[in-house]
Each structure stands twice: as structure tokens, then as C-alpha cells.
């Protein structure tokens, strides 16, 4: 569904992505892992067109997305740190996005209900805690039933119950044939929801395999140990 070819991106002299070649299939949950600063967020920003790659191409369903914008209607994005206009209320933000996306007929409000966001509709975005902002981000990402979901450290600020709700939602959407990209550092969580793991180190794809394959390769029962073994083994 998404094909990335020879993607390079640098910020000034710092080369963040060095020749990334990878493809993701629909109906899978792919977890993007890697040390801090290895280019995970940059990769998702490139797919979204928020960061513009220096060279290479990103294709969704065979069509290049560079310098286009309509394709974003198929993507739901949940940023690592959601930034919202401070003096807007939750209600206004949600209504504004819905107003902009009026063409979408199926609106998925499940997460708004599960997170009880209606009860906080009149709170200003500036006064919300980090976790509540995450909930708003999650609700917005899933709202328009997108075919692709890009979740950047989705559970990082969430309490265990809310994180559980999100995980259930992710698995539910996967069953409906969506492609879900998750960047995360929590291995147990990855093991729960993901099918494949892609590891970025210094802007290169270190490996991209299914979880069972990774475990078999390293001969470990737990994913975290298996990954640690692979990472250390090659150094």
C-alpha cells in the first residue's frame, strides 16, 4: 500500500534518513522502532508531506504523493505531541476538522465516546493535560475512517486504561483491512498489536520482519530480548 523508494532527508547538515527503501501492506500493523533521533518521526512526517524529502519517492497505491495533498484524506495522523490552538475548545477543534472534511460521510466517533471527551467539550485546548490532548489526537486520527493510520508514540502519555482502549481500537481497525504504522518504544505493546517490526538506526533500515521471524532468528521467546540480541549481535 505504501512504498518508499530511496528516501533521503536531511535537516541542514544532519542527515536523518539515508536511502530508506521499504514497503508496507494493507491489513497489517507495522511497528517502527529505533533509538531516539533515528528518523522515525521524520519518516512519518515525510509520508504526510509535512517534511519534504531531498530525494526519493513515496507511493501510496502506486502513485507518488510528493507535492500532492488529496491523498491525505486516506491518512489519519496522531502526532507525538499534539499541538492545538490554545484558545480553542475541544468542541471547536473537532467541529472545525469535521467542517473541513465535510465530504466524508462515515464519521467514527467511537473514541470520543470511549474517552468521554464530550464531558470536556468546553475545556480550552491550552488547559488540557498532555494525556487528554493525546486522546483528542487519537479521536481525530480515527474519526474519518482512513485507510492508513500513522500513530507516533500513541500511548506515551496515556493512562493504562486509555492505552488499552487505544490498543483495542488499533486491533479492530486492523481487522477491517487498514494499514497501521506505529512508532513506539514499548516492546510489550508492540508484541500485543504489531505484525511486523521495522527498525531504523541512524536513518537506515536495520531490519524489517514479522515478529515470529524475528523471534525465530534470535531464538528468543520474548520480542524485547530478540531485538536486543539482533541489535547487539551485529555491532
Amino acid at each position: 500500500m505504501i512504498t518508499i523508494e530511496n528516501l533521503r532527508k536531511s535537516y541542514g547538515k544532519l542527515q536523518v534518513l539515508k536511502d530508506v527503501n521499504v514497503s508496507f501492506e494493507a491489513g497489517k500493523v507495522i511497528s517502527v522502532i529505533g533509538p531516539n533521533g533515528s528518523g522515525k518521526t521524520t519518516l512519518s512526517k515525510c509520508i504526510l508531506g509535512m517534511a519534504l524529502p531531498d530525494s526519493g519517492d513515496i507511493k501510496i497505491n502506486g502513485e507518488s504523493v510528493l507535492k500532492k495533498h488529496a491523498y491525505r484524506s486516506q491518512i489519519g495522523y496522531m502526532p507525538q505531541i499534539g499541538k492545538y490552538p490554545e484558545n480553542m475548545k475541544i468542541r471547536q477543534v473537532i467541529e472545525m476538522i469535521r467542517d473541513i472534511r465535510k465530504d466524508v460521510t462515515t464519521v467514527d466517533e467511537e473514541l470520543i465516546g470511549l474517552y468521554r471527551l464530550q464531558e470536556m467539550y468546553d475545556k480550552r485546548m491550552g488547559s488540557l493535560s498532555g494525556g487528554t490532548k493525546q486522546k483528542v489526537s487519537a479521536a481525530l486520527a480515527f474519526m474519518f475512517d482512513p485507510k492508513i493510520l500513522i500513530l507516533d508514540e500513541p500511548t506515551a502519555g496515556l493512562d493504562p486504561i486509555s492505552a488499552e482502549i487505544l490498543k483495542c481500537k488499533i486491533l479492530k481497525e486492523k481487522k477491517r483491512g487498514k494499514l497501521i504504522l506505529i512508532t513506539s518504544h514499548i516492546m510489550s505493546e508492540i508484541e500485543e498489536v504489531a505484525d511486523e517490526v521495522m527498525c531504523l538506526v541512524d536513518g537506515n533500515v536495520k531490519f524489517h520482519d514479522t515478529i515470529t521471524e524475528i523471534k525465530a532468528q534470535a531464538n528468543e521467546a520474548r520480542l524485547s530480548k530478540a531485538i536486543a540480541k539482533i541489535m547487539n549481535g551485529e555491532d
Binding site: G49, M50, A70, M88
Partner: protein, 255 residues
């Protein structure tokens, strides 16, 4: 695009600075018209004050607004909307609301106390100046990510156009006083939208008779309808060049 402009408007109306700006202009204009003398005199004093304050307020307000709506822009960029559209909506929202404030604040008193062609030119010039300085503010904002630096550049631009430029022109006029400078001054005027606006209005007042040879030249060129059209065309260019270049910088930038 109109939808996004609507939300930009909402945001601006909520922070009340534009309301204060309207009241300030309203008080200023009513005060000057009531100070006695002919309406023409009031328009002249109003012109001088407007050409000093409108650029300053437009450029500072637009720069701070741009940086403050970064979150808003980031939110929209992940939606299926063209980046250029987001940028132009921001621009039209800010420039439109500031122009609205100007039209209410200066236009209503002019209409009440001294409706004339000159008053109309004053209004038109003010609106153009607003659009120009908001465009310059957006240019300053896309050049740098740092808010303090951006506001610094914006203030410097205002300083240049409102004060320094005139100093440079005066210096040139004195230094080359022995040469015929009429055409050169005309060209130099075109290089500064504030001066251009001033001359458009001045030429419609009787005071232009006091401006000497250069004034006579101005009058012969800019006094006609064709000349006025040319002057406004130049002002339009002053809007288009900064806003189109900042738009292209914005659409090629990482967010």
C-alpha cells in the same frame, strides 16, 4: 479556502486586539475632524498618522499572529488541504480583518465629516498599505522559525520603510542637488509603498502646490487618472511580490 478563512477570522476576533485597533483609529479620526479647520486639513493630519501607525500595527500584529497560529497550521497540514491554500487563507484572514478595522475606524468618520475623493483615496491607500505590510510580515515570519527574530525583522522592515528610507532619499537629494533629479525621485518613490501612498493622497489636496518642481512633475504624471492607476498598480505589485515569494518559501519548507 473560505472555510479556513472563517476560522482565522474567529481566532482574530477572539483576541480583541483588532477591536482595540478599530477604536483607536475611530477616536483618532473623530478627534482630528473635530479639531477645527477644514476637512481637508484633517485628512492631511490623518494621512500622516495613518501612514505611521497602520504599517506598524499591521506588521507587528501579523507577525505575532503568524507565529501564534503555528499550531493551527500544523493541525491543518495533516488534513487533505493544499499548503498554499492554508497560507493564503491565513493571509487573507489577517489582512482582511485589519483592513476591516481600518475601514470602520477611518472610513466612517471620513464619510461623516468630510466625504470627498481625497478621503476615498486615503481609505484605499490605507487598505493597500495594510495588505502590503501584512504580506511583508508573513515574509519575515517564513524566513525564520524563531519568533523573536521574526518580530525583529518585521520591526526593522517597518523602521526602514517608515523612517530610514526617507532619510536616504533626503540624503541623495541633497548630495545630488545640482543635477536634475525629478525622474530619479519619482523612481525612488515607487520603491517605498508608504511614500507612494502619501503622494497619491497629497496630490489630491491643494498642498501639492507647495511641493516645488518635483511636486509639479508628480502632479503632471500622477495627477491624471492614468497616473493614479499606475500608482495603485505599483502598490498592487508591492502586495504580490512579498506574498507570492513567502507563499513559495512556505510551501517548500518543513513543518
Amino acid at each position: 479556502m473560505s472555510k479556513i478563512i472563517k476560522y482565522v477570522f474567529y481566532d482574530i476576533i477572539r483576541n480583541k486586539i483588532v477591536l482595540a485597533y478599530t477604536l483607536f483609529l475611530l477616536l483618532l479620526s473623530i478627534g482630528l475632524f473635530n479639531l477645527g479647520g477644514s476637512p481637508d486639513k484633517a485628512v492631511l493630519s490623518l494621512l500622516n498618522l495613518v501612514l505611521l501607525t497602520v504599517p506598524l500595527i499591521s506588521i507587528v500584529f501579523a507577525t505575532t499572529h503568524f507565529y501564534n497560529s503555528y499550531e493551527f497550521i500544523e493541525l491543518l497540514v495533516a488534513q487533505p488541504i493544499n499548503r498554499k491554500k492554508i497560507f493564503m487563507s491565513e493571509y487573507l484572514g489577517v489582512a482582511g480583518s485589519l483592513s476591516g478595522a481600518f475601514i470602520v475606524g477611518v472610513g466612517v468618520p471620513v464619510l461623516l465629516f468630510g466625504a470627498s475623493l481625497t478621503g476615498f483615496y486615503l481609505l484605499l491607500t490605507g487598505v493597500f498599505i495594510t495588505f502590503i505590510f501584512v504580506a511583508l510580515a508573513f515574509l519575515a515570519s517564513v524566513i525564520t522559525r524563531d519568533k523573536a527574530k521574526g518580530i525583529g525583522i518585521a520591526l526593522l522592515l517597518w523602521f526602514y520603510f517608515a523612517l530610514i528610507y526617507d532619510g536616504i532619499v533626503l540624503f541623495i537629494l541633497y548630495a545630488f542637488a545640482d543635477y536634475p533629479l525629478e525622474n530619479a525621485t519619482l523612481a525612488m518613490t515607487a520603491m517605498n509603498p508608504v511614500d507612494l501612498g502619501r503622494i497619491i493622497v497629497l496630490l489630491n489636496l491643494d498642498v501639492s502646490a507647495l511641493m516645488g518642481y518635483t511636486g509639479a512633475l508628480y502632479k503632471s504624471i500622477l495627477g491624471s487618472l492614468w497616473g493614479i492607476g499606475l500608482a495603485f498598480g505599483l502598490l498592487l505589485l508591492w502586495i504580490l511580490v512579498p506574498i507570492l515569494s513567502s507563499r513559495s518559501i512556505f510551501s517548500k519548507r518543513d513543518l
